[in-house]
């Protein structure tokens, strides 16, 4: 394992010994991870390696079986509902499928988070509409999509709207769940650029999970690999091509032969 770059004394996000099982299947098996303020960590790994479960634990959507998660030294694990909600309101999440609300027009989706951020004066619907148009512009969408329903948009446009919603409340931490999955390479690159721009503009700390190596190389300031519920490698994007780690090598070069065996159920 390669040592990560030097970190400040208090990490933005600190995960220690995180464990989570579903039935007999251990999904997370002792994850230790520290993410510094302003860092963009990309976690790579195959399907079923526990990436999504890790993100859901970070958002307290799932309760881990053991270990701890702290945001700026405030414990997320074991906290009451109000504390969890307060910590969550400092995060923005881009879901894999966008998870836009079908029953609301695009602008209401984007404005949804704005009023929820504690300490901000409530706004009326007209002001919310104007703010939503502004946020849509930052992800390259015009005012003409504001009144459309999410189902009227293409997959790439839905991802942009979902990104606008995730950044609308100006969160300190941004989480991205497979942001480029299902998009063609040009749209994927556009989304990568928007992610980089949003993270830099907000000065946010970002954690992304993906198995798209082009995306990982582009948006990461640090990469970690998850395999069978453990972090098996952690280092800078420049180091991934000659890491000397056979698991990472196989994954990065997309080879079917190697220590990682595809789990295919016998017919």
């Amino acid at each position: 394992m390669t040592a990560a770059s030097a970190k400040p004394a208090t990490p933005k996000i600190a995960v220690k010994g995180l464990r989570k099982s579903f039935g007999r299947k251990k999904v997370l098996d002792g994850i230790d991870l520290e993410v510094a303020k302003g860092e963009s960590l990309v976690i790579i790994g195959g399907s079923g390696s526990g990436k999504s479960v890790l993100l859901k634990c970070l958002l307290a959507l799932l309760d881990p079986d053991g270990g701890s998660i702290a945001i700026d030294d405030a414990a997320m694990t074991g906290a009451d509902r109000a504390t969890k909600a307060r910590l969550r309101s400092r995060m923005g999440m881009l879901f894999q499928g966008g998870a836009l609300f079908d029953s609301l027009p695009v602008w209401e989706n984007v404005a949804f988070a704005y009023n929820q951020r504690s300490g901000r004066a409530p706004i009326n619907r007209r002001q919310a509409h104007d703010i939503a148009i502004e946020k849509l512009a930052t992800v390259g969408l015009g005012a003409e999509v504001a009144n459309l329903s999410p189902s009227q948009l293409s997959g790439g446009m839905q991802k942009r709207v979902a990104l606008a919603r995730a950044i609308a409340a100006e969160p300190e931490i941004l989480l991205f769940d497979e942001p480029t999955t299902g998009l063609h390479p040009i749209m994927a690159d556009a989304i990568n650029n928007l992610i980089i721009a949003s993270v830099q503009q907000l000065g946010a700390t970002a954690i992304s999970i993906t198995h798209d190596m082009a995306s990982a190389r582009k948006i990461a300031s640090r990469i970690a690999m998850l395999y069978q519920g453990k972090i098996i490698w952690d280092g800078s994007p420049a180091e991934i091509d000659d890491s000397g780690n056979p698991y990472l090598d196989q994954f990065v070069h997309g080879r079917s032969e190697g220590p990682i065996q595809l789990q295919v159920r016998a017919l």
């Binding site: 969550r88 995060m91 879901f95 998870a99 609300f101």
Partner: protein, 267 residues
């Protein structure tokens, strides 16, 4: 595997029954916790008044055609069947009273609720189930919005308050269905029919029907929400949730109908 002896088969059989019983107990436990949470959120702010208004419209107003059609044919058939039965005892004049009491105490609330279970219960389970499998419910959590308050409370309040109003409409239309058949086909005197209908009714007939309607409205919406909220596994999971919502609600409506009828029998 060696063939099982009689004792082995017996243990297998008992284990199957035991697993089924445990499954049912687990569902009953989850349902009880869900109902307690939903009802407690109904009386605690914040309230999403736009959502509540929208559900009052969807569950109440939009159910009027199906409830009205059910009621008019129920009243009409009751008058015809009553004529066949009471003519044998030379007592066809009992028809107005029988139609009015049957519709207000029993058939109005039960048939309207069963129709609403099919229309509204299924729609609730499908909508919330789709939101669950497309991560929209997780997205609500990350946007500092409690899904129970945002999705469940408006539907449950609409069921509780709109169902009695629908049943008032069903009562009037049901009695009028009997009136139309009696006056135009059975050649009853119109004014005498209406006076007999009104004189036959006691306050408790109407009150007991409305109490039933409120309970059935709760059953339909709570089971729709419960099944949708807990759905798993994509389109198939949503389909199962929808079916379960309608079947469980229909069975529970008939179950509670008996006990509520017994409760009001002597009043």
């Amino acid at each position: 595997m060696p063939p099982l002896g009689i004792a082995g088969r017996m243990i297998d059989f008992l284990a199957t029954i035991g697993r089924r019983v445990l499954d049912i107990l687990a569902i009953a436990g989850r349902l009880t916790i869900f109902i307690a949470r939903a009802l407690s959120h109904c009386v605690r702010p914040p309230f999403y008044f736009r959502n509540i208004g929208r559900q009052f419209w969807t569950i109440g107003y939009n159910s009027l055609p199906v409830v009205g059609l059910t009621a008019i044919f129920t009243g009409a058939v009751l008058a015809l069947q009553g004529y066949v039965g009471f003519s044998r005892f030379a007592a066809p004049t009992a028809i107005p009273a029988v139609v009015a009491v049957s519709v207000t105490r029993e058939l109005g609330p039960v048939l309207a609720s069963l129709m609403v279970a099919g229309r509204v219960g299924a729609a609730i389970a499908a909508e919330i189930g789709t939101m669950r499998v497309t991560e929209q419910i997780d997205a609500l959590d990350t946007l500092a919005t409690n899904p129970m308050k945002y999705l469940v409370v408006p539907r449950v309040l609409a069921g509780l308050l709109m169902m009695p109003l629908l049943v008032i409409v069903a009562d009037v239309i049901g009695v009028m269905g009997g009136f139309v058949v009696s006056s135009f086909i059975l050649e009853f005197n119109e004014s005498a029919y209406l006076i007999n209908s009104i004189n036959a009714l006691h306050t408790m007939d109407i009150v007991s029907g409305l109490v039933k309607a409120a309970v059935f409205g709760l059953i339909v919406t709570l089971l729709g929400c419960f099944n949708g909220y807990g759905s798993r596994g994509g389109a198939e999971g949503v389909g199962t949730a929808t079916t379960n919502a309608v079947v469980y609600a229909s069975v529970l409506i008939l179950f509670f109908d008996y006990f509520l009828t017994e409760l009001f029998l002597t009043r």
